[in-house]
Amino acid sequence: MTDADKKESFFLTKADQFITWAMKNSLWPFGSGLACCAIEMIATAAARYDISRFGMELFRASPRQADLFIVAGTVTNKMAPVVRRLWEQMPDPKWVVAMGNCAIGGGPFPTYSVLQGVDKIIPVDVFVAGCPPTPQGLLHGLMTLQDKIAHMHPTQEILKPHARRIR
């Protein structure tokens, strides 16, 4: 080794911590506004609340380019197969935030036409309550999701491919 090489800086970390650090700080949300919650989601992305502080400002119009599904609004039974399909089109690893009371459990619509909770068709990581949730509420949910991602063990999926993925 040369002297110059010895002066190169380095740091030690665990692979899991490094990978989850990278994943949680560059979530790419899928812009999926289904109802009025979308307005608060848009406000969260705008200058005042500034979702780019969390590296999440890149709302994608295609599920294939996103890894965070914010289900913002009422999911009707007619829309449910579409939501399921969009989720299936997102590449792994991916996360789902159910935003608002409608997405959590049907909200004020206990009716024939509304899906009573998006967790009946796709796995949800974080539920953000409110009607609609404030931008602060959504950001709190997203920070909760970041904490959850920080506790993942992505290397386990490489070392033990048959082990169940830790969510």
């Binding site: 049907g106 206990p110 009716t111 024939y112 036409s113 899906l115 009946k120």
Partner: protein
Amino acid sequence: MPAASADDRRLQDVAESLRGRFGDAVVETFLGKDGLIVRLRPARLREALTFLKENQGFNALQDIIALDNMKRGPAGLGPAGPRFEVLYQLYRFPEGLRLRLSVEAAEGEELDSAQPVYKSADWAEREAYDMFGIRFAGHPDLRRIYLPDDFEGFPLRKDFPLEGTKRGL
């Protein structure tokens, strides 16, 4: 009592010509606060719509409204009658005259489609079919419009459970 306005006089003329043309098929006509209301026997529905469009200048069908009057009758609040009532909201442009045509239909009874007369009846009648199960004879494509194609039942009927037959799933 205030003098009848020019609009009211025009609508009275329409009512007169409807009675002259359709006689007993016109059950009742009266002026409501938002225009003329005509109750008609369903047998001459399409004929009356054609007459109103082509002779009386009602050039727009704004909406078709269906009602389920299941709760009336001996056990309910009002007089007995056919279960469904269908309202055709007509508009005469540019005078701004409104006419509401009301026909009644028993359960399972078909009404003549207004689609051959007014193209805007196409989706409106599909909606009435989707929500109430009222069928329209002569409609070119009578299938559900809002609800999924495999939906069972007609949710705006009074005997349909609010939360649906599958509890919203």
